[in-house]
């Protein structure tokens, strides 16, 4: 998935660069036609300066765009990597609830604490791209999962309820990443 995105970006950079070159050529051609400029074998210092300045500006713009795209891509890839860890953790919580062994309380609390740390990390990674509502929705989903997965009372914990809340949390995070990708 990441490889496809990188190839797409490089393709757009090539298209952009080609478009810039053709625009410059078109601009020069239009000037020649409009003002009736003549062709000469002599090279003036103005021509050399023009080429150097144009090249420097083009290369700087390309470098800046490439750097910006690379940074954005890096943040997105980290967010996707965090999501995979969160999904794995939620799957472990669901498995633990289904197995229901002797260390259930302690193990579940460790998994829940770890999940909270992962969500905090995800929050810090994406904090510039996310809106407050999205943060609240994820927090509410987490608290709902925590509430049902650690409710040790008279009735055993309902695995289906835990699965549903776990899935809701994952879907919420996927939606957030999808929205970040659209930016």
């Amino acid at each position: 998935m990441g490889q496809v995105r990188i190839e797409k970006t490089v393709l757009w950079e090539i298209i952009g660069f080609t478009a810039v070159v053709f625009s410059i050529l078109g601009f020069i051609g239009a000037k020649v036609v409009r003002f009736g400029l003549t062709y000469s074998k002599d090279i003036s210092i103005a021509d050399i300066l023009n080429i150097i300045i144009t090249s420097v500006v083009t290369l700087t713009a390309a470098w800046y765009l490439s750097k910006k795209l690379s940074e954005d891509r890096f943040t997105k890839e980290i967010a996707i990597s965090d999501l995979k860890e969160i999904e794995q953790n939620v799957a472990e919580i669901i498995h633990k609830v289904q197995v229901n062994d002797q260390n259930l309380v302690n193990d579940l609390m460790m998994l829940i604490n770890h999940l909270q740390q992962l969500l905090l990390r995800f929050d810090r990674t994406c904090k510039f791209e996310r809106d407050e509502q999205s943060v609240n929705r994820i927090n509410n989903r987490f608290l709902a999962l925590y509430g049902c997965a650690t409710n040790f009372g008279d009735d055993p914990i309902d695995p289906q309820f835990v699965i549903q809340n776990g899935n809701d949390l994952i879907v919420e995070i996927r939606d957030t990443i999808s929205n970040i990708n659209k930016l």
Binding site: V105, T150, N151, F152, G153
Partner: protein
């Protein structure tokens, strides 16, 4: 004055479920042996009661509901909020849960 109670040091690092009959360090036990007496004393003396939450392995939701939730149900959310405060670096989300999922819903 502020009365400070460290849950991990004074009660236990590993907390249990809702009822005493289900195992040690339950929410019911914490409420009856620690929380309610401390709350009554703090209220009588116009003190605040601060719980230090860090140091435990975690707080099961049933433990919180049967302790801090029960306190709010018996004495009123507003009264409890006036007296009880929390301090934590790790379990800020537990404080959020108590406030939003237990106390807000008890009002």
């Amino acid at each position: 004055m502020e009365i400070i109670y460290n849950v991990a040091e004074n009660y236990g690092k590993i907390l249990g479920g809702r009822w005493r009959r289900l195992g040690p360090k339950s929410g019911e036990d914490f409420y009856e042996s620690v929380l309610e007496p401390a709350f009554k004393k703090a209220k009588e003396n116009n003190d605040s009661l601060k719980f230090m939450l860090d140091g435990t392995t975690g707080y099961p939701s049933s433990f919180l509901d049967q302790s801090f939730g029960e306190l709010a149900r018996n004495y009123g959310v507003d009264e409890v909020r006036k007296v009880v405060t929390f301090e934590t670096k790790v379990f800020q989300w537990v404080v959020d849960y108590i406030n939003r999922q237990i106390w807000d819903k008890s009002e």
